[in-house]
């Protein structure tokens, strides 16, 4: 008799626990956006840091280079929109530093895009927080931010080898989420077009 009751209790509890467990697998920062699954909007933005250990001052070298998304096709790209005035960006700064430095020199490229901010304050901020091992880009007139449908910082976009946006993440990123997404995309075979173009 008693074991039947225990089974009934378990049956009642299972959906509740399953629901909460499902909730844990969801990322509250993953906000619906029409972008995932579509081609990432192209951009060509001037970099104000190269990603070398010491950020340069804008007076010494005005712009290091221009980063074009099209040039990175065939590789995994992580775009992080940030600003020096943003509190949550501080939370994820260490994570980005840590994860990005793992992928230096691989087929995974990171880029930071400054949002609604002045390059000089961003450089001061990077000096204070520690440099990022990847270039930071200046987005004059927030063109890229508008293309990507940004509504706040930080937001992070992960783009697959085929140039499609795989994930849009709102709010600070975490190590595990970033690494698992990147590794999943790396494991995917490069698209035929990219392979054909490769030497």
């Amino acid at each position: 008799m008693k074991w039947k009751i225990a089974v009934a209790a378990a049956v009642l509890a299972v959906p509740a626990v399953a629901l909460l467990g499902f909730g844990l697998t969801r990322d509250p920062g993953a906000i619906p956006s029409p972008l995932p699954g579509r081609m990432a909007p192209e951009f060509a933005l001037p970099a104000f840091t190269s990603g070398s250990p010491t950020p340069m001052h804008p007076d010494s070298v005005p712009h290091v280079d221009t980063v074009r998304l099209a040039a990175l096709r065939g590789d995994v790209v992580v775009l992080n929109f940030y600003a020096s005035w943003c509190l949550a960006c501080r939370d994820e700064h260490l994570v980005l530093q840590r994860v990005a430095s793992r992928y230096v020199g691989t087929d995974v490229h990171f880029a930071g895009i400054l949002y609604n901010d002045i390059v000089a304050s961003a450089l001061d901020w990077l000096k204070e927080m520690g440099p990022l091992p990847y270039p930071s880009l200046e987005d004059r007139g927030s063109r890229a931010a508008i293309d990507y449908g940004l509504y706040g910082v930080p937001e992070t976009f992960i783009i697959g080898r085929d140039g499609r946006v795989v994930l849009k993440h709102v709010g600070p990123v975490t190590d595990s989420m970033l690494v698992s997404q990147i590794e999943r995309l790396r494991a995917a075979a490069p698209p035929a077009s990219a392979r054909a173009g490769a030497p």
């Binding site: 009934a8 209790a9 009642l12 629901l19 509250p28 906000i31 619906p32 020096s84 975490t174």
Partner: protein
């Protein structure tokens, strides 16, 4: 050094607690007082060890020992001492440590208070409390370990989240909430103990459960009020409740605990609702665990949700164990709990409690549904939805006004049977007040049905509850020739349960009226002013006098000097400001409030010209806000009066002494009193 002491104390406590559980269960099964006492000693010792660990963390925080991972995470040399100490609960690991400290503290206190009780139910209850403690210790030595060694030792840290170091209420709200949450696990432990020991049928456990529930309920109520106040004083939006999941998480166990505190009286007096009460205790505890899960697992984004990793799965396992174990226990023992009494009259105090319980349960379910619905929608249909204020307001307002009405009727209903004629006589004055208020509110131009009903029912309930004090005091004044200020306190002293309850009702009604008024009659204005210019909002003139900047410890403040004028006279100087913390570039708004009994003038600095030539301020005039805080205070005071043990010589008021009490074992004066008086 701190790392070593703090962590090893936790590890030893974990081992000792597990051993303690085994000893207590074995002691209860073998009926061995020696094993039992050894088990109790394990509870005390574990508490001592967790205390050592917690104090080590406080010392590490105060001495800026950045080799401790938690200190490196939340500490900063520029944070003032008070906020350094309370950053013990400013992030995940520390809050779990503090939580564990309270779990063991209350377990030790419960052992101290109940160790001499006959039977074995308390031994199982103590084992249950240890088991809850073990869960928190597993978190602390595993995924939420605050004592990692940081190498190399940083010279400084970022400091706690600026939002959490802007107001002293942060020193008050979290400990109160934890005490409330942890306190509610004690009645649960009693329930489990009573069931496992097979002593549930003798109803002895409900007395202890009731006292612990009242105590926990006081802390939980105070915590909710403090949280609302913090949100009002710090966040700068002029509101205090947003149906945020974390607010709901604290509200749901409060609702079920409130239901329990009322329905337990029906069980004590009439032997009814026994299974229901058992369920309420269990559900309340499950809801506190759910609340902890929601706020600590990262399942939601919120100021309470800290970034973290795997801890959510530990909580999930804990919820699963608690749910399955308690459902199985309740289902297994419910058949032993036969209802002893029956409902004699549909118009009686029992019915009032029953309806009240029903309304509170409906409300709990509604809030639970709204809180979890986004999860359900995502699980079932894969869409992201958010459930906001409109849903909760629409669903809960009808229940709230019904509860207000019930608060007015309930005290007028005697146990068992009601004499209809006497009831109508008792409700005459309150009903008249209700109608008058309703007409006045409509005449003032309120067309919102719920606002009118809230005011009318609030006035009705307030009158009934105050009338209880009045009739009781008048009886003493007539019978003993006491003056009113002697009679009132003696009346309350004569029956803590009853008058404490009425006092709590009075406070709750005052708070409800404050909430209704401040949300229905809020006036808001945002305007840019130059120094010397003024704006009139709802009859209050608000003048900008100056814009200033100032360097303070760990932060820079930019603020405005604002004068509030009424009838040409300055009634208040306010200094709304924006604070820029070193660790953050986002300014933290610091609104300033001028409170009076009738209305609050709430001024928030939105923007400013750096040369001080102008400032944009937002002015809100909200009536009766202060009554929410005062009412909340009265609620806690009333519950405290009800909690305070009754001294025998005041057990009965003379007015009742010559009515023959028909209820055996009555600890309270029944409303029969009125039959003598009228």
């Amino acid at each position: 050094m701190n790392v070593l002491v703090g962590l090893s104390a936790l590890q030893i406590a974990l081992g000792l607690s597990v051993v303690g559980i085994i000893i207590l269960v074995a002691g209860a099964r073998r009926n061995s007082p020696r094993l039992r006492d050894a088990g109790y000693a394990a509870v005390y010792t574990s508490f001592g060890l967790v205390t050592v660990s917690t104090l080590t963390m406080v010392v590490a925080l105060v001495t800026h020992d950045f080799s401790v991972s938690y200190v490196a995470q939340v500490g900063s040399r520029s944070t003032p001492l008070l906020f350094t100490i309370i950053s013990l609960w400013a992030a995940l690991e520390g809050s779990i440590l503090f939580w564990a400290f309270l779990v063991f503290g209350l377990a030790a206190l419960a052992v101290r208070a109940h160790r001499r009780e006959p039977g074995h139910s308390f031994e199982y209850a103590a084992a249950t409390m240890l088991a809850i403690g073990v869960f928190f210790l597993i978190l602390l030595v595993g995924p939420a370990n605050p004592f990692h060694l940081v190498v190399p030792t940083p010279s400084d840290g970022p400091g706690p989240n600026p939002l959490l170091q802007n107001h002293p209420l942060m020193a008050v709200h979290p400990p109160l909430l934890y005490l409330g949450y942890v306190g509610l696990s004690v009645p649960f432990a009693f329930a489990v103990g009573a069931m496992v020991s097979g002593e549930v049928a003798d109803d002895r456990w409900i007395r202890s459960a009731r006292r612990w529930t009242i105590a926990a309920w006081i802390f939980l109520s105070a915590a909710i009020i403090a949280g609302m106040w913090w949100s009002y004083e710090v966040l700068g939006w002029g509101g205090y409740w947003a149906w945020d999941p974390v607010e709901n998480a604290s509200f749901m166990p409060w609702l079920t605990a409130t239901a329990f505190l009322h329905s337990i009286m029906v069980q004590e007096r009439r032997g009814m609702l026994r299974v229901w009460n058992l369920n309420l205790v269990v559900v309340t505890f499950v809801l506190t665990v759910l609340g902890t899960f929601l706020t600590r697992s990262g399942i939601l984004s919120s100021v309470h949700a800290f970034t973290q990793g795997t801890i959510g799965y530990y909580f999930l396992a804990f919820i699963a164990i608690v749910l399955v174990a308690s459902l199985a226990l309740v289902a297994g023992y419910a058949p032993e709990l036969r209802q002893r009494g029956t409902l004699d009259d549909p118009l009686s105090r029992e019915t009032a409690f029953l309806v009240g319980n029903l309304l509170l349960s409906v409300m709990t379910f509604t809030v639970l549904l709204g809180t979890l619905f986004p999860l359900v929608a995502e699980a079932v249909r894969g869409v992201k939805v958010s459930v906001g204020g409109p849903f909760f307001n629409q669903m809960t307002l009808p229940v709230i006004v019904m509860l207000l009405f019930l608060l007015g009727v309930g005290p007028a209903l005697p146990w068992r049977r009601t004499d209809r004629a006497k009831l109508s006589r008792r409700l005459l004055v309150p009903a008249a007040v209700m109608v008058t208020v309703a007409i006045a509110v409509v005449a003032m131009g309120t067309r919102d049905v719920y606002a009118v009903l809230a005011f009318a029912f609030g006035a009705f309930a307030l009158t009934t509850n105050l009338q209880e004090f009045w009739t009781g005091a008048r009886a003493r004044m007539r019978g003993r020739g006491e003056r009113v200020f002697t009679a009132l306190p003696r009346l309350v002293r004569g029956n803590h349960h009853r008058y404490g309850g009425y006092l709590a009702h009075t406070g709750l009604i005052a708070a409800a009226i404050g909430i209704a008024a401040s949300s229905a009659f809020k006036t808001e204005r945002e305007i840019t002013l130059k120094p010397g210019e003024a704006v009139t909002v709802a009859g209050r003139v608000v003048r900008l006098d100056d814009v200033w900047g100032r360097q303070e410890q760990g932060r820079t403040s930019i603020g405005a000097d604002v004068s509030v004028l009424s009838g040409g006279r300055v009634v208040a100087h306010l200094e709304p400001a924006q604070r820029f913390y070193e660790s953050s570039d986002t300014p933290i708004p610091t609104p300033a409030v001028h409170s009076s009994a009738a209305r609050d003038v709430y001024v928030n600095l939105m923007a400013f010209k750096e040369d001080g030539s102008s400032a944009t301020i937002r002015v809100l005039v909200e009536p009766l806000v202060v009554w929410i805080w005062l009412g909340g205070g009265i609620v806690c005071l009333g519950a405290f009066v009800g909690f305070w043990p009754q001294r025998k010589r005041y057990a009965r008021a003379p007015a009742v002494a010559h009515t023959t009490s028909t209820v055996p074992n009555a600890g309270e004066i029944r409303p029969v009193q009125v039959e003598v008086l009228s």
